[in-house]
Amino acid sequence: MSTRQLFAYVLQLADNALILGQRNAEWCGHGPVLEQDIAITNISLDLIGQARYLYQYAATLYNGFSVEEQHAVNALLPRPWKAFNRELQEDDLGMLREERQFLNLLITELPKGDWAQTTLRQFFFSAFQYLQYTQLQNSTDEQLAAIAEKSLKEVAYHLRWSSEWVIRLGDGTEESNRRITAALEELWMFTGEMFAPVAFETQAAQEGYGVDVASLKESWLNRVTTVFEEATLSIPKSTWAQSGGKEGKHTEHLGYLLTEMQYLQRTYPNAVW
């Protein structure tokens, strides 16, 4: 088994959860009503919790690697950490890697936009993550299977909540429909990336510890179609998809997000509370 691919695979799952968790957290104190402010920040907390399990696992893997294996993943490691002379820890991976080292899907890093954009993005991602984690429970890697099993219950709530919001906004008022239609135009081209495997994902699926993402597309489209019918929205005809996130090529938005999120660890390295 290629440990380099496994390490990248775990990081990619972690990065998706952390970056979307950070984006959603921007609503804290700004939600449209108190209950929904709490809802979106709860989802944020779940995602950051999942990211922690995955970063902890990635760090454990790395610390157990041979020198050659460690060398092979050098490009994914945070530069400041190399001067710390201690084992790799979860926070190093989340708080000190650079933009090009992040492997998250582009859709997770896009600005939170308005409530329509936030809930539609959450719906697209949760519908994907629900299928991905359902399959990941069968991973040959015990720890990945356990993380998926644990996280799936939370994702079920995220999916239900975001599905309901898409319907409420789509089938709501003229204004809410206009907003979510605009969000759909903005987000649709970022959904294709979820189902387009990059090299480490293909390897992960072949070796049985990862999920064949291409195979999830049909079920995902079914869920989207069901919700869209209720929401009086139609699936866009365009099939062109933007990709690059899983290979470290990001939109301009990620850099700004990291600057804010990583500020503390970069200014006060190794700070804890």
């Binding site: 709860n42 907390l45 079920a156 909540w161």
Partner: protein, 175 residues
Amino acid sequence: MNTSIEEQIWLLLEEVKDPEVPVLSVLDLGIVRDVKVSDTEVPPLGGEGPKAAVSITITPTYSGCPAMDVISMDIRLKLIEKGYRNITIKQSLSPAWTTDWMTEEGKRKLKAYGIAPPNPKQQFCTTDMFREEAVQCPRCNSYHTELISEFGSTACKSMYRCLDCKEAFDYFKCH
């Protein structure tokens, strides 16, 4: 081996409470999965207390729940207070925690505290939309209630309102 020490540990765990819902002990919550006690030759610091290494396995409720770190620390502090020094607290993710592991006593205490206890999970843990769950008001026992928000002040709760006695209340949601 060490059955008496093991029994003592279980009794001590009953005294460790959930920091967010202080009427519930970690045993009521069903998060303690295993307690192992083994002899150790190394005397504890100060030379007093049981010569035993204690290993406790707990399982998290929600991935991002900040109470989990506090609970681990509280368990450790409780054992240290009783003279244990060699303590390991492990987290286990699988099988994933479910509210079905909450004890009946725990559910009773929750209700007395004003939080509706979780329904059995098979009733509601699905991705189906707009489903209304029959949640009983912990104050007047009416089932005539409505959901305010699926997410509440902590990850484990949602918010309801009783349409009979008009009180708003928390529901410890099934998981």
